[in-house]
């Protein structure tokens, strides 16, 4: 009599064969389930590819971005010692002065504030200033010529050969400027550039007190290999002189860094789409395994070991995940070609898109990891399916203990999400906040779905009609899908709505008010001698003098007796030029939050200044701290007397540093004047007159700025919507696949009801009631999460108020519920269209 255990030798190849066989008739459905991760992977592959290509292009074009081997720039004047040093640098030198100024088109009479670049030398040494005609960029320095940005030429309908007035001089437009080194499309439309020869600058009389001029010096080296080393060595000297150094290497880093934030945002949007997909994969595989319960039990009866059963389904998930990853990677590689189109206005370099194999590899790996990781909780349960299920259809698990490996998988999921988020985020705090929000949303939805089941069971009145009772009862009966659908629909809704709300918050935050009584024109750089004249001109045009303030430029010399050299952690405070004012009363946009406001002082009294509270934080200054200001050579000791909250979004001049009256009246200063022009026509006439009479005064047409800002925002909005689109479509796929997976739970019941004589209408009504309630509850829960999340983001991150837009919110809610009901009812309808027996046989 045999009494030893038989040995089983299952080949790995058989497991593959069995996995293949078992997946028959389910492959399309499995693909639908897994398709929820395709878009997420596609989004990430597109972003990674774009990042790769951008980095390559930045590396390749960095020289064209800087246009020289070394760029030194300063907003301060150039000292004699510094000038001596500048004269010895490089094998070839160019100089440029950049400042804001008005330009007046003689022919059409139009004027606009532009970024003026007065250039001398052969800059750029790498790349080119591109112009039409091509030769104009080369020859404009030979006479009184200008290169005018193409947006300006278009705006004022100007042609090459026309004349423009800049300051006191007339210039001939020699060419249309199409591209300047390092300039982005968006930069050109906000501050269009005009090039003039440096040697003509003095005669324009534009350089006056308070003019903000950026002095740039460009150097070309025959051997540029030691420049970075030189910059490092001269760092403190350059800093002392107020100079910044830019080399090809530093520009590479800087450009890459500024796009890191963009990439981080794009990758996070893709990751949200992918996370949604994970929920889809998790719920789909859960239902898939439930449907396979009987087959697995039979195989176990026939002698299949639990780990082999597990492997069969793991192999299926692996290959379906691989297919999804390949599809996602292919789609992502295609989509990356769209990203430069979406971002073209923000890019400083020409992008040459090509397949990025590291990005494709990352996408494939990510797809595989995610499919397997999020399928694992369900796959692990395969190991615990008892063969008894084959002889007892309603066999219940003897023990409800959770598999310890499941906990390990949950831990791995948490680690994966945290680690991946950390790769996209800057700090651990942000990472943990993001991960914790997802975990909280998940747990809350589980609690809510349990609450729903409890409430429906307890509160459903017996007196209600059969259809309602049956529809509601489906929510808590055995094999119900309430938990799975609430979590997946709820999370999808939460993600979609949060993106929508955040977009709204961002938009409203930057939309400036342009009400009827608000000023819409700002004039600055008004000299003391021009004050009266400009006031009279404004009055002559019957325009109101709405806000006129003096502006004094200064620097911080010492804080509490410490100079910049001793206060190494606070260098920015000493470096930046400050534009301060003096006033005897607070404006409507200012509120004292700490200390006491001092409006006026007498000679020799302590100068109590008031700081914007955020600025005080930035420069690490508190009440009663002592600050020594260098007001163009004159040292003025002050004490921080008060801190103010400033409403920066109000359309008026606001200042970080405010002096009391009685101190700065005699200091070199210029003035800013605000007014409101009633129409574009008056604006054009008034600007023309101002430019003619006061050439150095710059005029900003805020209506134009608002228009530009609006354009900029809609471009940013498009980028946000483009990426949010991935999450939205994924959410929709997850929703559909969740509803479709729950279909099988309803089939038998619907057919039985039909066999017992229920009409199609009645069954459809039962299903509609169930799906309506599920959809409404899950979408409602998701909305609550989204509103809470958006409120928290608005308050703590964007520092803005958040009121959910009622009508769009309601519309979002209604569309999600409608989508759930339609998908649910349609899936039932397809069953009801066939004879009950056929369905029963198929399902058995």
């Amino acid at each position: 009599m045999p009494n030893s255990l038989p040995k089983q030798s299952i080949k790995f190849s058989w497991l593959f064969k069995m996995a293949w066989r078992d997946s028959r008739k389910n492959r399309a459905r499995l693909l639908l389930f897994i398709s929820s991760i395709v878009l997420g992977i596609a989004a990430l592959v597109a972003v990674y590819s774009f990042k790769d290509n951008l980095q390559k292009d930045i590396d390749a074009q960095a020289k064209e971005l800087t246009g020289a081997d070394l760029v030194l720039d300063s907003r301060k004047g150039v000292s004699k010692a510094m000038q001596k040093m500048l004269d010895t640098l490089g094998d070839e030198r160019s100089q440029e002065k950049t400042f804001a100024s008005m330009i007046y088109f003689q022919k059409g009479g139009g004027s606009r504030l532009v970024q003026m670049k007065a250039l001398e030398g052969n800059y750029p040494y790498y790349g080119a200033i591109e112009s039409i005609p091509l030769a104009a960029a080369k020859h404009f320095q030979s006479g009184r010529n200008a290169l005018v940005d193409q947006t300006l030429m278009l705006q004022f309908n100007a042609k090459v050969g026309d004349s423009v007035k800049i300051g006191d001089l007339n210039f001939n437009i020699l060419g249309t400027l199409t591209k300047a080194p390092g300039q982005t499309g968006i930069g050109a439309s906000i501050a269009p550039t005009v090039y003039i020869p440096l040697k003509t600058l003095d005669k324009t009389n534009l350089i006056k007190t308070g003019s903000r001029i950026n002095n740039k010096f460009y150097f070309r080296y025959n051997d540029p290999s030691k420049i970075d080393e030189w910059v490092k060595k001269q760092d403190s000297k350059l800093e002392k002189e107020g100079f910044d150094a830019d080399t090809v290497e530093s520009r590479k880093e800087q450009t890459g860094r500024s796009f890191k934030d963009v990439n981080r945002f794009l990758a996070l949007s893709g990751f949200i789409a992918l996370l949604l997909g994970c929920v889809g994969v998790g719920s789909a595989i859960h239902v898939y395994i439930q449907e396979k319960l009987s087959a697995i039990a039979t195989l176990r009866c026939l002698g299949l070991k639990s780990r082999h059963a597990f492997l069969i389904y793991l192999i299926q998930v692996f290959f379906i995940g691989l297919i999804a990853a390949v599809l996602g990677a292919a789609l992502g590689t295609g989509i990356q070609f769209l990203l430069p189109l979406v971002l073209k206005d923000f890019l400083p370099v020409e992008i040459t898109m090509q397949v990025s194999w590291p990005a494709v590899g990352q996408g494939l790996l990510l797809g595989l990891i995610i499919s397997i990781l999020f399928a694992l909780p369900s796959l692990l349960s395969v190991r615990r399916i008892s063969p008894l299920n084959a002889i007892r259809i309603s066999f219940e698990k003897a023990t409800g203990k959770r598999d310890p490996l499941t906990w390990l998988v949950y831990l791995l999921m948490a680690v994966f999400i945290t680690a991946f988020t950390h790769l996209q985020m800057k700090t651990w705090i942000q990472t943990l906040a993001f991960t914790a929000s997802i975990a909280i949303a998940f747990v809350l939805l589980i609690i809510l779905s349990k609450l729903l089941m409890f409430l429906v069971r307890k509160l459903l009145p017996n007196s209600s009609s059969y259809l309602w009772r049956q529809g509601f009862a489906n929510l808590y009966r055995p094999n119900n899908q309430t938990l799975m659908l609430t979590v997946s629909i709820g999370l999808s809704t939460a993600f979609i709505c949060t993106l929508f709300f955040v977009q709204g918050i961002l938009m409203s935050r930057v939309t400036l008010s342009s009400g009827a009584n608000q000023p819409n024109m700002v004039m600055f750089d008004i000299q003391n001698t021009q004050k009266e004249g400009l006031d009279s001109l404004t009055k002559a045009f019957k325009l109101p003098l709405m806000n006129r303030v003096p502006v004094i430029t200064m620097r911080i010399e010492e804080i509490n007796g410490k100079k910049a050299s001793a206060d190494t952690n606070n260098r920015r405070a000493y470096r930046n030029e400050i534009r301060a004012t003096y006033q005897d009363t607070l404006t409507a946009a200012e509120k004292i939050t700490a200390g006491k406001w001092t409006g006026k002082i007498k000679p020799n009294e302590t100068v109590y200044i008031s700081l914007d509270q955020r600025y005080a934080q930035q420069i690490h200054v508190e009440l009663n701290d002592k600050i020594l200001f260098n007001v163009q050579g004159m040292m003025i000791p002050t004490v921080v007397g008060s801190l103010r909250e400033v409403n920066w979004s109000r359309m008026q001049t606001n200042f970080r540093v405010v002096f009391p009256a009685g101190v700065l009246e005699e200091a070199p200063q210029f003035h800013v004047l605000m007014t409101r022009v009633p129409s574009g026509e008056v604006s054009a006439r008034f600007q023309g007159e101002v430019v003619q009479k006061f050439p150095n005064v710059s005029v900003i047409d805020l209506d134009l700025v608002l228009k530009l800002l609006d354009e900029l925002l809609s471009k940013i909005g498009f980028v946000i919507q483009f990426m949010a689109g991935f999450s939205m479509v994924t959410g929709w796929i997850v929703l559909i696949s969740s509803v479709l997976t729950s279909k099988n739970q309803r089939i038998k019941e619907s057919i039985l009801l039909r066999t017992m004589g229920a009409s199609r209408k009645q069954i459809l009504a039962i299903n509609a009631i169930e799906y309506f309630f599920l959809g409404a509850f899950a979408a409602g829960a998701g909305l609550i999460l989204a509103i809470s999340g958006s409120w928290a983001l608005a308050k703590f991150t964007f520092d803005a108020a958040f009121v959910p837009p009622f009508v769009p919110t309601l519309l979002l809610f209604a569309s999600i519920v409608l989508l759930v009901v339609i998908t649910g009812v349609l899936s039932t309808r397809s069953i009801l269209n066939q004879p009950p027996l056929k369905i029963l046989r198929t399902e058995s």
Binding site: P6, W14, M18, G303, P387, I391
Partner: protein
């Protein structure tokens, strides 16, 4: 004759809603190799539970189950799976064919699990014996109930089991088809010399076996023509 199945003092108790529910209470019997036995009883008497324990699908709460000389209660689930694959065949009331496998593949599975050779030819031979050689590439859904149970018979005999458990094998079939399937079951069993244990409440079917164990309320109330007492 050697006994292939020894059941001694077997009880099965389930926990249900915080209470203990005794489904089988101190069951004892032994079955000789090559014999045919029916386990009968009304619904809920514990027949299927007893079959599950005998076939190593479940573990007894107390007592011992010895199959082919191996005590099952000491084995883990995977070891019992190996025992089932080596020594046990199954026929289920609802056929339990794998829906995504063809008739031929269904018959091949137990052999594949065992790592046997010439599987295909053997499986085709069995399908031929049950009269379904021409339907070998059909999926279960394309077969009638009777045909599905015949495939199930071929699968049950494919690994030449020492003992065959049939759980209400005609429960889902009409009278005429039932008769054909039962005849086929007994014929195949005779040819193979397998021990056959049928769980049924069909007394007519039970009468065709050499021995009939009747249980009610979880205890054996009669054991006709017992070969072991």
């Amino acid at each position: 004759m050697e006994s292939i199945l020894n059941i001694r003092n077997v009880s099965k108790i389930y926990q249900s809603a915080g209470r203990e529910l005794t489904v089988l209470d101190n069951i004892n019997f032994s079955i000789t190799a090559g014999s045919t036995v029916a386990i009968t009883g009304p619904s809920g008497s514990g027949k299927t539970t007893l079959l599950g324990l005998c076939a190593g699908l479940d573990r007894a709460s107390s007592g011992t189950v010895e199959l082919n000389g191996i005590a099952l209660e000491k084995l883990n689930e995977d070891e019992r799976a190996a025992i089932r694959n080596q020594y046990v065949g199954f026929i289920f009331q609802n056929f339990q064919l794998l829906p995504t496998l063809t008739a031929l593949e269904n018959v091949m599975v137990p052999l594949e699990l065992r790592g046997a050779k010439n599987i295909r030819a053997h499986a085709l031979e069995l399908l031929d014996k049950v009269g379904l050689a021409d339907r070998s590439h059909h999926y279960p859904v394309q077969l009638s109930g009777g045909e599905q149970q015949r495939v199930s018979l071929a699968r049950a005999f494919s690994n030449q089991p020492a003992i065959l458990f049939a759980d209400e094998p005609t429960g889902n079939l009409d009278a005429e088809t039932s008769e054909k399937v039962i005849k086929l079951l007994f014929d195949l069993n005779k040819d193979a010399g397998t021990t056959l244990i049928i769980v049924t409440h069909d007394l007519e079917l039970a009468a065709r076996t050499a021995r009939s164990i009747k249980i009610k309320g979880g205890v054996i109330i009669s054991d006709e023509n017992p070969t072991y007492a």
